[in-house]
């Protein structure tokens, strides 16, 4: 990126300025360490780590994943080290890099969300929070927070009330009206919205006649879900005025550009990193090439330019 004629790639996500719009999606990039040998983490727009909860979680029993047509199912069960160990053991490593670290957080109660947010805001070295509301609400009989506009709003307000960090709320696609949820999250004070999380799916082993996942169902990710993700990003962009981050099946720069044109201010790369650990760098370079080829000097001149 030496060339002065290179396009400007900088984007602003609710106060958080990113050197480029390419982030890693939570749960698909571990705690950053796992990929630090494969790519230069400093080149990422932002690094989003695995979802963190108040207490350590051991996750679901195996099998946890299965391949599907153009995608995969996972039921990791939000395994993570818990916020304490994250701050003590994982965060220090990330402080060696010059990349914004965004922590994906979740809880089973509003209170849990609030306390994780608090802990991370005081930790230092955390540049933003991404609130995963596709988590089952134990008090509400396990319905996802993200499926209920009021709950989504409440979680957002509570997290915002305890942190000064930019807060992006990550939506679940398993809802009837994504724009409605987005609206109530915006009303709750979110600085940005990211979507989509995984689509709930299932697959069956016809020889054993058991589900391929021990948990029976899991989250579908990968190129298979890209059209749904793009549609939901489009619907949300048309509803809210805060920045939207596009996620879902992005495998190359062309996919990323689709989301940007549809109005996403930035994008996250998830499952693609599994099949190519360096894919984020390929996407970054591909976006740059696209802008040059089309004579676009600032990526913000591309964002939201879909002609309809």
């Amino acid at each position: 990126m030496k060339n002065p004629h290179n396009p400007k790639l900088q984007v602003n996500i609710g106060g958080l300025v990113l050197k480029n719009p390419v982030m890693t999606a939570s749960g698909t990039f571990g705690y950053g360490e796992e990929y630090s040998n494969y790519i230069d983490l400093n080149r990422l727009g932002a690094l989003i780590v695995k979802g963190i909860s108040l207490e350590r979680r051991t996750g679901n029993p195996p099998h946890r994943i299965m391949e599907t047509p153009c995608g995969m199912l996972n039921s990791i069960g939000l395994e993570n080290v818990g916020v304490r160990s994250f701050v003590d053991e994982k965060l220090p490593f990330l402080k060696n890099f010059d990349v914004p670290v965004i922590v994906n957080i979740f809880g089973e109660t509003v209170e849990e969300y609030r306390r994780v947010a608090e802990a991370l805001s005081n930790a230092g070295g955390v540049h933003g929070l991404e609130v995963n509301i596709s988590c089952p609400n134990v008090l509400k009989g396990g319905v996802e927070f993200g499926a209920d506009p009021d709950m989504a709003n409440k979680v957002t307000r509570n997290v915002k009330s305890v942190t000064d960090l930019p807060v992006m709320v990550k939506l679940t696609p398993n809802v009837t009206d994504i724009a409605e949820i987005a609206g109530s999250v915006e009303d709750g004070g979110a600085d940005a919205i990211s979507l989509i999380n995984t689509l709930k799916g299932m697959s069956v082993d016809i020889e054993e006649r058991v589900p391929h996942l021990k948990n029976i169902t899991g989250g579908l990710s990968g190129p298979a879900i890209k059209p749904v993700a793009l549609r939901m990003v489009w619907e949300v962009v048309n509803r809210v005025s805060i920045p939207v981050i596009g996620i879902g099946g992005i495998m190359d720069a062309a996919d990323a550009v689709e989301f940007l044109i549809a109005g996403a201010r930035a994008i996250q790369v998830g499952t693609a990193s599994f099949v190519n650990p360096r894919v984020t760098m390929d996407i970054l370079e591909g976006i740059n090439d696209y802008l040059i080829k089309h004579g676009i000097h600032d990526i913000n001149d591309l964002i939201g330019t879909l002609k309809v």
Binding site: E79, P223, A254, F274, V275
Partner: protein, 276 residues
Amino acid sequence: MPHKNSMISGRIIFNREIVKDHFLMSLKVSGHFSSDEPSFQKVSPGQFIMLRVKGDESPFLGRPMSIYSLYPGTSGLVIELLYRVVGKGTHIISRLKPDEEIYILGPLGRGFDIFPDCSCVILIAGGVGIAPLSFLGKHYMRDTANKSPKIICYVGAQRSDLLVGLDRMEEICSDIRISTDDGSRGYHGLVTELFQKDITSYNNSNSVVYSCGPSPMIKSLAEILRNQPVPCQVSVEERMACGVGACLGCAISVKSGYRRVCKDGPVFDIHEIVWD
């Protein structure tokens, strides 16, 4: 728009069926390695690679394969894989022809521990499980050349015509003991039973057992060795997505909780594994 892809490719030297549904693939490793990423310059037996067919959305994920052997070729390193066609991915991989390229990621995982002072190495292989054990056996021959340990190999297969990798094992082992489920060759029964018969003849204090094969086999081996002090390391399998420890998809249950087969394994102490 050109789809950039920075993955490492291996160019296929040959990829031939050596036994029904069992293929031997030889790959020349090309492409750039970033200096600090895992490199094929130092590989330990038991490590594996992820294979992915080029420019293709199906099969979508990489396929983990143990390194069967690895040596410097005329131009770059040569990696050999021994694999069985079981489903869609391995079927497509088996159709690749010489000179075609395939993406590879690796070397990955924690290989077998080497016990330099042991005087007796016992390898227990089920089916293609012989691949990493064969690599390990060669390693013992080389590394401990001066006081090379006795290497004994138990090889199990369903039928005599499904036995693979014996040729190389013969170069490595002082003794090979074969079993087949149908008795068509060697001992009639499970390879673990065959091993069990001999177990008393081994001196636990200076022996080490390594095994790789189908879960039921590993499980029964765990039974057999439960109260034996002899160290036993096994290479296990689980579905994988990333292969580098990031997705937590390849969990295996061990006494202390869940471990990642791709990163904390694939080699584990057999007594650590919790069977459901």
